[in-house]
């Protein structure tokens, strides 16, 4: 897990109660039990904590953590 993936994983665990042991770069949000409202909340957290604003439909339940990290990176993560 790279630094950005680790940061995203920490947010999933600390803010949304995802079980830490379940999170890998290949985990999809469906596997992590997050629904569409949870994904919008996660986007809000990413914007506030990492400073990167993604579109509301950027994440789907089949998106993985690694794919999310790439999206954040492409938008210019400061992490």
């Amino acid at each position: 897990m790279n630094t950005l993936e680790g940061t995203l994983a920490d947010l999933l665990v600390s803010r949304l109660g995802v079980v830490a042991e379940d999170v890998t770069p290949d985990s999809t949000y469906e596997q992590l039990m997050l629904d569409s409202l949870g994904l919008i909340e996660f986007l809000l957290i990413i914007r506030k904590e990492i400073g990167v604003s993604l579109d509301d439909d950027a994440l789907q339940i089949r998106t993985t953590l690694a794919e999310t990290a790439r999206l954040v990176e492409a938008k210019g993560s400061r992490v």
Binding site: R15, L16, G17, V18, V19, M33, L37, G38, I40, E41, L44, R47, K48, S53
Partner: protein, 412 residues
Amino acid sequence: MTGSSPARFDAAITGLGLVSAAGIGTDATWERVCSGVSAAARDPALAGLPVDFSCRVPDFDGSKLLGRAMAWRLDRFVQLAIVAARQAIADARLDPGTWDGARVGVVIGNSLGGTETWERQHRFFVEGVPEDVSPLMIPMGMANMVAGCVAIDCRALGPSLVTATACASGSTAVGLARDLLRSDTCDVVIAGGAESALSAGAITGLQRMGALSARREDPAAASRPFDVARDGFVAGEGAGILVLERPADARARGADVHALVSGFGASSDAYHATAPDPAGAGIERAVRAALRDAGVVGDDVDHVNAHGTSTPLNDVTEAKALRRTLGERPLVTSTKGVTGHALAAAGSIEAGLTALALRHGVVPPTANLTDLDPAVDLTVVVGKATSAPLEVALSTSLGFGGHNAALVLVAA
């Protein structure tokens, strides 16, 4: 008395779950209520406000009790309800994994919804941009979610309803739940009330309308029902959940029955939005209807868990009505001296405490009552809990809007 009338319908209370400022759990709550020591205390979340104390449930951490993945999506009033409902279902020794969910209903009272959620998200909206508002604001804030989320949690597939009769909501819910059993709509009903409106805005609103005690210098003495020096209620929070079943069903599965809900009466003052009808005619109608429904008369009543909010108007109005309908014989208490006023949860918390009073033959004292208001011509229990044989008890609730509700409980 208590030969039941042929028309009387009893609902057996087979499970109890109580979460209040007096404690998390039925035993903790009962013990604290019987101690007569008020739970009111300075509330850091209200620091700087004209009323900076409350009866908050101590050490209630939804993340610990329900898990963070569940808790972050729920306002505290729903968390309180789910915790109390799980307690009640476990106490009833029912298993949501195996029950016929289609025959299980949920009726829970709530008044103000998720005030903490509304206020926090509104702040984000005003101070930021629309994208700062959580997508969970609506599902967390809606009052009906308290029944919906309890139904989800225990997989109750029958009707799930929310009653909103302000501070009578919990009692109204228990009364309607009994009707769902009587009409054979359900075999089991998870019934009660839940409220958590100790947010700065909601408390300010209650303070501005003059409902709250202003006894900032001594919060522990602020909730003093029926006392001549009372000056308002102390806002509390909590949830009281009862599992109700038909007595025959409870017997058939060998369930332990705490007490029976044998009568329910409801009425409206149709007088004023917030002030009770000073003659107490509205609550009197509800009490008389509940007694009639239970097939008992006023002289049969041994114990009353009164609404007794500690406001100047409520306590005198209610006392007059109780005196007219019941005489001076019953042992009266207001457990709000200890728990504060949990608004929509109050009626069901008190119904639970009334069931425990019948079961144990013990009437808890009214905390802080040192100088009975001369206008209160009732036998109010003070000082320490009083033991007495109790067969029939009444629990009363009055709500803003002129909603009145009365429950008659009978020993099992």
